[in-house]
């Protein structure tokens, strides 16, 4: 049975290759292969889940493979299953299958239909690989494969400059985090000699990581475990779009809507939370680990800040995107205060209802687009004429869709209530567990503590969440249609609504898998029993949080208030009118609407700075210093050679020639003496003899 684990990621991977290499020209065949593969993965996954759930005290199953030798050691890669993996295998393949089925309808008529299914198959293979990986390296490989696919899918309509920029931004932003994770992994491997989770979590290894310290200069001395944990968290911050690397996620909606659902719910962003949860013993290796504090603090801050941005957005998908960032913050803050089960619980429930909401928004957008074309045709215009002026994502262009798309509407309402945290939907139970955990801890530690901050941010965030969702459903489904496009909408095809209904059903009931045990009648604490002991080997155990009626009651009340306020304020919002909050909030509204100007800040500093520095380096290289030195060296040698040549011709050769010429001239002169006439010679001889005689006499 467990020998089939490999197949869970391998099937979608094979489907990717089959589509790219063979099935590409045939659209129907391509999508059938993709859906068949993910469907089979889903079946195998649930069979595995069933085995794990029904086995009391399930022991981890691990299937390693020798992957890479290094010196006298060998690194193994493999797949494994434990209860935590099992609960992920319950969620991921199912949600992915729903998204695939939905895409069949949504992507109808796209020229790159086959390619879309190839990409999403690879994407899913990445996520499933991450979930079944028994070690950090395979997890990282899968993680990066997802990064690639998100790049390809966000930029799927790459002719649009906005899509191509969003794709690049997503890849680069997450890459920054990935590099930190890469370093963390290299460091961990160096310290422990292994990357396999079960080997890392052996008590003696954890002990070593906690005991070994390293000096970081001005930052003081830190245990190795904390540094590794922070580096891993860096990766998660990128992938799970936490502050300050959250900027890519809202732009990621440039991709087709099913991709947004895939990225925002079941796969990409869940990966960051999953990896932090999976390596939680490293985070918690030392008492009061600053790594955990960082996770909790950043999570709580992100949960609140992203929710404030969401209330000021008009794009239906952008609201959901910030909502995702905010909800991921909830998961992170849960992990940061040691609420492993609560964080995982929220990860699972959120995947279902966020996939539901994204697919629902896709159904709405799809329908508004078609309505726009229908309205244009009704007015006798050519379709596409007003394309640039019309934004089918803008909630201000919608309204009154309640009666026109009933299936989408009802499922959307279920998703909204779950996200807002209204009892007894799934989101209520999971979010409440996080808040109860924080509340319980701050009761012990007082208000000057992380748990208090987490609880406060979480509760405020919950109010805002309910408010922006109330605003959204008010704008989209209530009131009167604000445009002709909204007037001409109608329900989406069954291939799109059926997945909505399936996801809605799970959203309704999923919360009951972990109702706290002390809750009357339905209390079970099942999830806690199921995954609560996965880190027992590393001596990390979690206590169940009892239901707190104060916290639960308060958050339900706040959720209803928020929803009601948002709904009431926006349901009859007239077309073209300014947002009712714009005036009362004034400059704050502008800041929120512009997302705190973080994008502008990054592009002015990091992006421009890097590009400017790169140009500077190139000038230094090519025009100013390095290459000029080489060229000067060349030219200098050439000049020196010319000087040598001149010296050679004029001085050295000149001397030689001079001697020659001198001899020649001298010969010329002396030659004149040699006349050949005997009388001349006699005269000279006589004169010489007389002269010598004279000299002799004078002495």
């Amino acid at each position: 049975m467990f020998q089939l684990l490999w197949l869970i990621p391998a099937l979608p991977l094979l489907s990717f290759f089959a589509i790219v290499l063979f099935a590409n020209p045939n659209k129907r065949l391509s999508s059938n292969i993709a859906i068949g593969a993910i469907g089979l993965s889903w079946l195998i996954s649930w069979a595995v889940v069933f085995r794990v759930v029904t086995t009391p005290h399930f022991e981890l199953v691990d299937l390693p493979l020798a992957w890479m030798p290094a010196g006298d050691k060998i690194l193994h890669l493999g797949v494994m299953v434990d209860p935590f993996t099992a609960i992920m295998l319950f969620m991921v393949p199912f949600v992915c299958t729903m998204i695939f089925v939905y895409s069949q309808g949504y992507m109808q008529g796209d020229p790159r239909y086959s390619r879309f299914f190839a990409y999403v198959s690879l994407f899913t293979a990445g996520m499933l690989g991450l979930v079944v990986a028994d070690n950090l390296l395979l997890a990282f490989i899968s993680w990066e494969v997802m990064g690639l696919c998100s790049y390809l899918l966000i930029g799927f309509w790459f002719e649009k400059p906005s899509a191509m920029n969003a794709a690049k931004k997503a890849f680069m932003t997450t890459r920054i985090g990935d590099v930190l994770l890469f370093l963390g992994m290299a460091y961990l491997y160096g310290q422990t000699g292994t990357l396999t989770f079960k080997d890392i979590f052996r008590p003696e290894v954890m002990e070593k990581l906690a005991q070994t310290t390293v000096s970081l200069g001005p930052l003081g001395t830190q245990p190795v475990a904390v540094i590794i944990a922070l580096l891993i968290f860096g990766g998660a911050v990128g992938k799970s779009a936490q502050f300050p690397l959250h900027v890519w996620l809202p732009d990621a909606m440039e991709g087709p809507t099913p991709v947004s659902a895939l990225i925002h719910a079941a796969t990409m962003v869940a990966a960051g939370v999953y990896v932090v949860a999976r390596t939680l013993p490293i985070f918690a290796a030392v008492e009061g680990s600053s790594a955990l504090v960082a996770v909790g603090f950043i999570g709580a801050f992100t949960a609140f800040a992203a929710a404030t941005i969401a209330i000021a957005q008009d794009d239906i998908k952008r609201v959901l995107a910030y909502s995702t960032i905010s909800q991921l913050g909830y998961m992170m803050m849960a992990l940061g205060i040691g609420g492993f089960v609560a964080g995982v619980f929220h990860l699972i429930t959120h995947a279902f209802f966020k996939a539901l909401l994204f697919l629902g928004s896709g159904s709405v957008i799809h329908s508004v687009e078609h309505g726009h074309h229908a309205a244009a045709e009704a007015n006798g215009e050519h379709p596409g004429e007003h394309e640039e002026h019309f934004d089918a994502n803008d909630m201000m262009n919608m309204g009154g869709l309640r009666t026109k798309m009933p299936a989408t509407f009802w499922t959307y309402i279920i998703g909204t209530l779950a996200l807002a945290g209204v009892a007894p939907l799934s989101g209520f139970w999971s979010k409440d567990e996080i808040l109860a955990e924080a509340f319980g801890q701050f009761m012990h530690k007082g208000v000057a503590s992380l748990p208090f901050f987490v609880w406060l941010m979480g509760t405020l965030g919950a109010v805002l969440t309910a408010f922006y969702m109330g605003r959204q459903i008010g704008l989209v489904f209530w009131g009167k249609p604000r445009t002709a496009a909204a007037e001409h909408t109608h329900e989406s095809p069954a291939s799109m609504t059926a997945p909505l209904i399936a996801l809605a059903a799970f959203t309704l009931v999923l919360g009951f898998m972990n109702v706290p045990e002390n809750f009357p009648l339905i209390g079970n604490g099942w999830l806690h029993h199921f995954i609560g002991e996965v880190f027992a080997a590393a001596h990390l155990e979690f206590e169940a949080v009892p239901f707190n009626f104060l916290v639960g009651g308060l958050s339900t009340l706040l959720a209803l208030l928020g929803l009601g306020a948002g709904w009431a304020l926006y349901k009859d919002h007239p077309a073209g009118a300014p947002d009712p909050l714009a005036r009362p909030l004034g400059p704050i509204w502008r800041v929120l609407r512009n997302k705190y100007y973080v994008d502008e800040f990054y592009s002015a500093t990091v992006v421009r700075g890097t590009i400017a520095f790169a140009s500077l380096c190139y000038k230094f290289d090519d025009s100013w210093v390095i290459d000029p030195i080489v060229d000067w060296a060349g030219k200098g040698t050439a000049i020196f050679a010319t000087a040598n040549r001149l010296f050679d011709t004029h001085v050295i050769d000149g001397t030689v020639n001079f001697i020659g010429i001198f001899t020649h001239r001298w010969g010329d002169i002396t030659r004149r003496i040699q006349t050949g006439r005997v009388q001349n010679y006699l005269v000279v001889a006589m004169a010489s003899a007389l002269a010598l005689f004279g000299v002799f006499l004078m002495r």
Partner: protein, 503 residues
């Protein structure tokens, strides 16, 4: 391994069976010359695969040929094979075959001379990898320059003469330093043998002279790699070289330098290398970051890939420097050193495969558009889906996407270096981020994404011969990325032997 003189055959077959007959062929007989060159290049390829398949990693360094060559100087014709040069032998034969095959479809001028020089190039390059005698090493090191000089100078683009001369003179200047150091070593030890030299005391233990010789050889090798700041011949040579010339240049020629680090500097100067390892690691980091940044600032496709080679070869130097720095420390760090050095050797191989592929791709685009200017393109993704797919694949491999070859070697280098020189290595990851930026922005976005540039509407997608030239490189890239154990078992055996030897 039981074919006698197998390394000699691999080395000289292209020249003797290919070059000499081609010399006697009529220059109008282009088809015959091309076919002959392809067939001849296949033999060393087959033999190198056979060698790989039959080589036993446990055997360590195997000397296969040894004959006294110049008796008075004690120079031997000595060839050998181990886990370090075997992947590079295979790389050389593979890229030679692919280059010759690809060129047979695109080279139209002076065909006879072109293939003659290419076969001579293969012999020259191979000789460097298989030599186990310093003198012989030096001879091949010089021989290989000549055909490359002509390939750039005759079949290159506009500024080919400048680039060819710069390439030739720069390398030659370095070689002189190496020659002097080599003679110095010979005069104090009496041997050129790369098998006997390790462990010998050079220059009677004179530290200053040893350092001088070390740096002389280092500079000669660093010019070839090229390491910052000796790299500026590379972009010019690449931009001007014909496609297959760039493939061989990036794919094989650059590896001669780093191969020399491992074959000569590390075993002969272990203590000196240890002493200077930190400055060299810093040079490597500068190459990594600076190479990536300058790549980011390019608008010429080939120049960009050339600078990315400076970045990628920087990882190789980093791995070697880290391994050298750990020399003489206790046995527990063997795994760290071996990991770093494994990464360096694998990175040499991977860079040859990946960047070789990228230069093929750049040439294919030039063949269609007659420009390397990135801003001239845009939107080709919709016109050339297959070409786009291959470029995206190779770019991802080059930027180190896990699942493809480049990641494995980068991971090994950083894993090893991070355990030995953490602070220096940590800076290196900046290079990884910037590498991703320029591949996504300069290559993928500027060529393929955005609105379609109507000028290229009728551009044809990949042809069959182009796909055949690329397919082996893609398959190897994927295979190593998914399952690196086979090649790493081989490399690891060679690396561990070297490390145990130097202690």
């Amino acid at each position: 391994m039981n074919i006698p003189y197998i390394l000699s055959i691999i080395t000289f077959f292209p020249l003797i069976a290919g070059g000499i007959p081609i010399l006697f062929m009529h220059k109008e007989d282009e088809t015959l010359i091309k076919r002959w060159a392809i067939i001849v290049s296949l033999i060393p390829l087959a033999l190198s695969i056979y060698l790989w398949a039959t080589y036993n990693p446990a055997a360590g360094l195997v000397v296969t040929e040894e004959k006294l060559w110049i008796p008075g100087l004690d120079v031997y014709y000595r060839l050998g094979v181990d886990g370090i040069n075997l992947p590079l032998i295979f790389l050389t034969t593979l890229l030679s075959t692919l280059s010759i095959y690809y060129s047979s479809h695109v080279v139209k001028e002076r065909v006879k001379e072109y293939f003659l020089f290419f076969l001579l190039l293969e012999t020259g390059l191979m000789g460097v990898f298989v030599s186990l005698d310093f003198f012989l090493f030096y001879v091949f090191w010089e021989i290989e320059l000549v055909p490359m000089y002509f390939i750039i100078g005759i079949w290159g683009h506009e500024r080919r003469e400048y680039a060819a001369i710069k390439f030739f003179i720069y390398t030659l200047a370095g070689s002189v330093l190496m020659l002097l150091a080599m003679l110095g070593i010979y005069f104090t030890t009496g041997t050129f043998s790369l098998v006997a030299l390790p462990g010998k005391e050079l220059f009677g233990g004179n530290f200053a002279l040893q350092s001088l010789a070390f740096w002389a050889i280092f500079i000669a090798l660093a010019i070839k790699v090229p390491s910052w700041p000796f790299h500026t011949w590379l972009p010019d040579a690449h931009v001007e070289a014909p496609t297959a010339g760039s493939v061989m240049l990036a794919g094989v020629l650059l590896k001669l330098g780093t191969f020399g680090f491992i074959r000569i500097l590390l075993p002969i100067f272990p203590k000196i290398f240890h002493y200077y390892a930190i400055p060299i690691a810093i040079l490597a980091i500068i190459s990594i970051i600076y190479g990536a940044l300058v790549s980011l600032a390019q608008s010429n496709l080939k120049r960009m890939i050339a600078y990315s080679s400076v970045n990628h070869m920087g990882y190789v130097i980093l791995g070697i420097a880290a391994a050298a720095y750990a020399t003489g420390t206790s046995g527990t760090v063997l795994v760290d050193r071996a990991t770093a050095l494994n990464g360096a050797v694998l990175q040499m191989f991977n860079h040859g495969i990946i960047t070789g592929g990228l230069f093929f791709l750049a040439g294919m685009l030039y063949h269609r558009s007659h420009t390397y200017d990135l801003s001239a393109f845009g939107g080709l993704g919709a016109i050339l889906p297959a070409y786009y797919g291959v470029v995206a694949f190779m770019s991802m491999a080059s930027l180190g996407l896990p699942g493809l070859a480049g990641f494995v070697s980068e991971f090994l280098v950083f894993r090893g270096a991070f355990a030995i020189i953490p602070y220096i290595a940590a800076f290196g990851v900046l290079g990884i981020v910037i590498t991703a930026a320029f591949f996504l922005w300069k290559v993928i976005q500027m060529i393929f994404l955005g609105p379609v540039n109507e000028r290229w509407r009728d551009m044809p997608d990949l042809r069959r011969y182009e796909l055949i030239s690329l397919a082996p490189l893609m398959i190897i890239t994927l295979a190593i990325g998914v399952y690196p154990a086979p090649i790493l078992n081989l490399i690891n055996s060679g690396v561990v032997a070297v490390l145990r030897m130097i202690g």
